[in-house]
Point group: C2
Chain length 187, copies 2
């Protein structure tokens, strides 16, 4: 797999809230910075922040502009990570952005905290997807709505270490998935 | 390795600040929750929060008490993670706490974003430490001071995926290290 042709999407909507209602979740400063730093660490081509509400995308654009204009060592490191961020209204638009950047459409792979039927394994993805751009989609809130899963190319197996507890923060799940696919660590 | 005999310590002091001065870093709500959830996911025996300032430890104790007294589904999940948190003034006290919990002293393994001479590899730790309790120490701020490294049993190799950027948030580094050691994922 070529990291520069791998992208992450953070999907803010449509996602479920705790009452199983369709919502768009608020952008958090924290996920923005943490996922950007992780994406930069793993050499990704970009981090697509997908939000259906224009005002939320504008908020992110303002945050990015702030760090782009701030000059100190810490800002330099943040900027190097945040320059990977691209804004999109939804996952389909993110797919189009990646297709344009790579010259060919990506394989869109959803992730889920719950296991889903037909999910592909980490090893399979790590071993076979290299030839094509990859867009990994992560949901916020209580996970992406079914119609998002209906439109992806496949779903990745969930992170399951057998403890019976699967409430990892999305910023943490992104890191674990990227390390398994791109970390180059052999056990 | 037995997860229940593995512990993480988050060391708030002594650590370096950006000007290479010895400080104690402030506790963050975020690291507390994220690392507790990750520790619970990986089935750890505990999460030792090491802070030399009593008022900061009391602040954490109050946060833990709050979640212990709140009744709803989200609070239940948080509580299940936060009950792993133990407070200690420093890493030596954390070592003693783990020794008491396990009936034998742990092997104390420091982590570092920068590579350090003599560091042991992930595979070696995953394969050989199982017989003994393990305490993994992570630094906040710009990393643990040298005197902390001088007193540990060994240092783990750094997470290095070859991108030249190693500014992962500590809550993310904890997850990657635990997944490599305990995730049971074979590439």
């Amino acid at each position: 797999m070529t990291p520069a042709r791998t992208f992450v999407a953070l999907v803010h909507g449509p996602v479920w809230n705790r009452n199983h209602e369709r919502i768009a979740s608020a952008v958090t400063h924290l996920d923005l910075h943490d996922i950007a730093r992780t994406a930069r660490t793993y050499g990704l081509g970009g981090y697509l922040l997908c939000h259906p509400v224009a005002a939320q995308r504008e908020l992110v654009a303002r945050i990015l502009a702030h760090w782009n204009e701030t000059e100190n060592l810490s800002a330099h490191r943040r900027r190097e990570a945040l320059r990977l961020v691209r804004l999109a209204p939804d996952l389909e638009a993110a797919r189009a952005t990646v297709a344009e950047a790579c010259g060919e459409p990506p394989f869109v792979l959803a992730t889920s905290a719950a296991s889903r039927p037909g999910a592909v394994g980490f090893r399979e993805v790590a071993g076979h997807v290299g030839a094509r751009p990859l867009l990994l989609a992560f949901g916020t809130g209580w996970g992406m709505c079914d119609e998002v899963f209906d439109r992806v190319d496949a779903t990745l197996e969930s992170i399951d270490v057998g403890s019976g507890y699967n409430h990892l923060p999305v910023r943490v799940a992104v890191a674990i998935v990227l390390d398994r696919l791109l970390g180059g660590f052999e056990r």
